[in-house]
Symmetry: D2
Subunit: 357 residues, 4 copies
């Protein structure tokens, strides 16, 4: 007999339902008696005791559905880490729910923030298994996260659409791609969409070099230029600021995002019409792509297997094409960034893509 608690936390993404279905199918099909409690809206459900006993039917027909049928939220995390404040109470509340329901384990699906809290719960003595969910692919300890490839697809489709309009009008177009503080999503969507220029946080750009590059292109007969710009892209100047100074600068930004700033600067420097498109939250929505469905199902089923073997304290990750278990303390608090000297960046340069630096 196993009693499992399950929750999804942080920004939603594609294949969360597929992953949960994987866990549940592996458990229900094992022959062992299993109870799965689903907590509503992430850690909030655990804190405030909002949950539902789930049946096999709850996990049927959800493989292809975007979002998370349990709901999610970001809020509790913000204060949870601060001992002495109300954060401590929240941890206590979560532990209370856990013990009251006599859970054997919590299955937690989330990204970076979620993993910090998951690891905190582990140090507090709870059994935890996590699954790497994020469109940003920025989780340490795993080559891949689910949601990422689906988000690449959405972002690429946006660039594809922009391509035809950019070519028709002879315009410069900036497509802002999500990805939080890392460039994985922009790098992949940019290559896939045939972007001419890719700006990612890991390679700060120089606005003057960028403008020069674009002018050269148009002088050389190119009719249009497409820039895939990460929402976390940063200029060389800003990258030299201290964290505090940069935050202060951001707080004074009048443009909605970095893409608009870049567009404005390029417009001035190049004398060309520059347009901005922000696919935004569409990148985390919609049905998961087949890659993510398979990947999330595989991870989920392996999580179920670990639970049946009473192996806790791990994130189920992916290394060198094999599913692996990664100790939670190694995952929490770290960011997996794009290495500017990695082969994919070099290959992008071979393809003629400029990183604006």
């Amino acid at each position: 007999m196993k009693r499992i608690g399950m929750l999804t936390s942080g920004g939603d993404c594609q294949a969360l339902n597929a992953a949960m279905r994987g866990v549940a199918k592996a458990l229900f099909n094992s022959g062992e008696k299993v109870e799965i409690y689903g907590f509503q809206d992430g850690y909030q459900g655990l804190i405030y005791g909002r949950f539902k006993l789930l049946t096999y039917a709850d996990f049927t027909g959800i493989l292809t559905k975007g979002g998370t049928f349990l709901g999610t939220s970001r809020t509790p995390f913000k204060t949870i880490q601060v001992p002495g404040e109300d954060g401590v109470d929240k941890v206590a509340a979560m532990k209370q729910t856990y013990y009251k329901l006599q859970l054997d384990c919590l299955v937690i699906l989330g990204g970076n923030g979620t993993h910090k809290t998951a690891n905190l719960l582990r140090t507090e003595g709870l059994n935890v298994i996590t699954l790497p969910k994020t469109i940003d692919n920025d989780l340490w300890g795993t080559d891949m996260t689910f949601g990422f490839q689906s988000a690449v697809n959405v972002a690429t489709e946006a660039i594809d659409c922009i391509h035809t309009t950019a070519a028709s009008h002879g315009r410069i177009f900036v497509v802002e791609v999500m990805g939080h503080k890392v460039g994985w999503l922009t790098l992949n969507a940019g290559i896939a969409g045939g972007a001419d220029i890719i700006l990612i946080p890991e390679i700060p750009y120089d606005i003057d070099k960028l403008a020069k590059k674009i002018k050269e292109r148009h002088d050389g007969g190119s009719r249009f230029t497409i820039l895939a710009v990460a929402e976390g892209a940063i200029s060389k100047k800003d990258a030299e600021l201290s964290k505090k100074e940069y935050k202060k600068k951001l707080s004074k930004r009048t443009q909605p995002s970095v893409s608009y700033e870049i567009a404005e600067e390029l417009g001035k420097r190049c004398g060309l019409e520059v347009r901005v498109t922000v696919p935004g939250h569409t990148q985390r929505g919609g049905s998961p792509c087949p890659y993510d469905r398979v990947f999330a199902s595989r991870l989920g089923s392996e999580a179920g297997k670990l639970i049946l073997k009473n192996e806790y304290g791990f994130m189920v990750g992916y290394k060198n094409r094999e599913i692996v278990k990664v100790p939670l303390e190694e995952v929490a608090g770290k960011l997996k960034m794009v290495d500017p000297d990695s082969s994919i960046v070099k290959e992008a340069k071979l393809l003629g893509i400029s990183f604006g630096n």
Copy 2:
């Protein structure tokens, strides 16, 4: 022997290439000797004599391609209507190119602005046939324009994606849909995407009623609300302003668009998190949907037929499921708007959709 000039003008959209292919195939397959000159970047190509003699091969393989292989532009139109200024010269320049190439006819693909100029050229004695191109579906004299259904698809897909993230997070989401000054695109994408609220220019909204409606929904247990908002949506207050006052107000707008204003106001009034997504130019890009491919091909082939019969001065339109010819003077300068009392609006209301008024 026929000598045809062809150009695409105004904002690009899907199925422009399909329509031109339709014209060309009908002409080339007719047995008659035909020369087709393609003008670059809309009226600019006609004005400055930038053109290319096109062959059958130029129209092959373009049925499924977005954009326009001739290029397009909006600029020349702005000043062209002003006699006594450089507008006159432009008309003269266009006539000169027309006569120099000994054209029998101009085939012009465009929207409202384009049709004004096309009609002007007609009154100046040129033979003109036009095709109704716009994602806005706002052209007078035709039930449908090509590009519209493809744009509905892109906008609906955006709402579909937002649906899963809105449901997961329990958020209010505003999706801003294109459509210029009319609500066709928003109305259709909104119904197709299952939006709870649809705001269109033809039905000015009352922000207080809107906030009340959303509060009622959430008090009644709805976890999320999706608003499809036309880029041209307008509040009742603003609708009462004179054109001049409204323009002045718009010029002082600090938000990027009406959606952000609405989001801010609703956030204040409802105390809920409101997010905005703007699919933007993606709505006019990408491969045309099958509906538009068929529709544009049909219109194009009928344009070819008219040319072979020396019937000029018409827009090829669509009325009651038949392709019809509409005198250009009836089309130019008019806008086809959504009638607030039309059956589709009433049906939307039956479905429980609120128009915020």
Copy 3:
């Protein structure tokens, strides 16, 4: 107070759920007290009394889902028309269920076969409202049926995929398109997919002329030829047979379908490799396209309105872009076919498409 029975019958298609949601929303939002009973698996549920009282929640979140959540079946119809046999009992059984549940009306979603039975029930004194569901678009009395445009999209996507492989290999490809005994689906998908040849039941083909046309194409430098062939396509020879003779011939067919016969004959005559692709049932599955979602929702809501006004005995159809009510007796037993002299066929010919006749 209204008591409504609802069922879907015949082959499933896209937007059935959207249409039922439209009916339900219009009824539930009307303020009047409403009970909706859903019958399982078409008329079978009505005959054998298998039903479920449906709530508002049953119609939530189904707008974008393919298939029918009520299930469907084809079987009962076959014998139902034969008085004196068990057909009579079935009608009696259906009436019994209707009166037992004290229904005010049956809402029946279906195609041609379904409408015959629906009309029979009407003549037996039951209140019936029907909705035109079929990917074939062959229902009399309505310009359009829901499911059709979604099926056009699936079939066109198949042709698009085949295009790249046909072009790469220089092959002749036959894509078999559904559509039952009429050519609407093939005609539209064929034009949208850029097929070179379209064969539909309404225009019997001549295999020798077909072979000659293809040889001419390839002699003229065409690298490949794509044929969109309706599953009901028929040769001139076979079209001259009596119904009985043709049935007999079909029963002796060794090939899986007409496409394989045509491929074999063309292979022999042209000396070229001919491949066949049959997208089959995929054409009636998957999420409805935005056009069908809007269309089915509109029809459904108007059905709800008719019920609220106690107007029965109609199919809710579509004529000249308006939703209309069509007396059931006019619909049943008739087939809406493609007119070989219609403008869309003529336009296809202008585009250079051959009908093989």
Copy 4:
């Protein structure tokens, strides 16, 4: 100065153009003077000296296009391996073209058959670099081939479509998936599409166990069953036959493929309606998915890099998320099959998927 010959051979697939663009961009952007000769229709072009000098423009705008702009063919390979027959002449002819054009290297894109010939040319002294193209993912020496993920997407979409119709009608559906003699494509599309049963060549099925499994499912309340069946699926009985006996048996098959045989057998044994769908060649067509675009571009650019460094005799492959060079002699003639004891198969079983054995 580099003179490169380029050709695509074997069945076409998605991202061939993307890969060639990658090679060309890396070469043209290198600063070195480069001439690229494109051979038409695979080895045929090399044999018969049908080629074209390609420019930068030939590789522009082809990233998203399916198929191969050079054309491909399968035929020459069949006899090429037989010394003493006309095969020898063909090799000689290929060498002659190579030397006549003074090529530095041949870039060959293809699958298993193609690689045998490529290796043969290498042993004959030609410089060869190959790229792993196949939707089957059966090439030895690389974790992944381009085309595969795009084909998974098409096959999964077909299963998704079938899902709604299977659920509506309560039917058993067999979806036949490509993949030649290996199960990669079926395994991935089957998991992604939520198939209940997956049959692959590497795990021969037992028709009686299969029938029993389906009966159990339906007795247990399942309304439908979906089988993803590889085109190369084989029964245990047939797997025990000698190659010769099996070939003989295949030659006498009256059904078009194994799926129809299985459907017939299951229909008899289960007493349920079983339908077959064969997406066929659509699986290798259409625009490449973003994953394949990135992957093929990366491989292509690395091939360009190798050429610039005069490193020949390799296939550019993918191992543990890094691009690697694999000696051609290790690749040729081997098949990468699904290991029945691999983790992905075990995970599929955890998900409740049966392999019918």
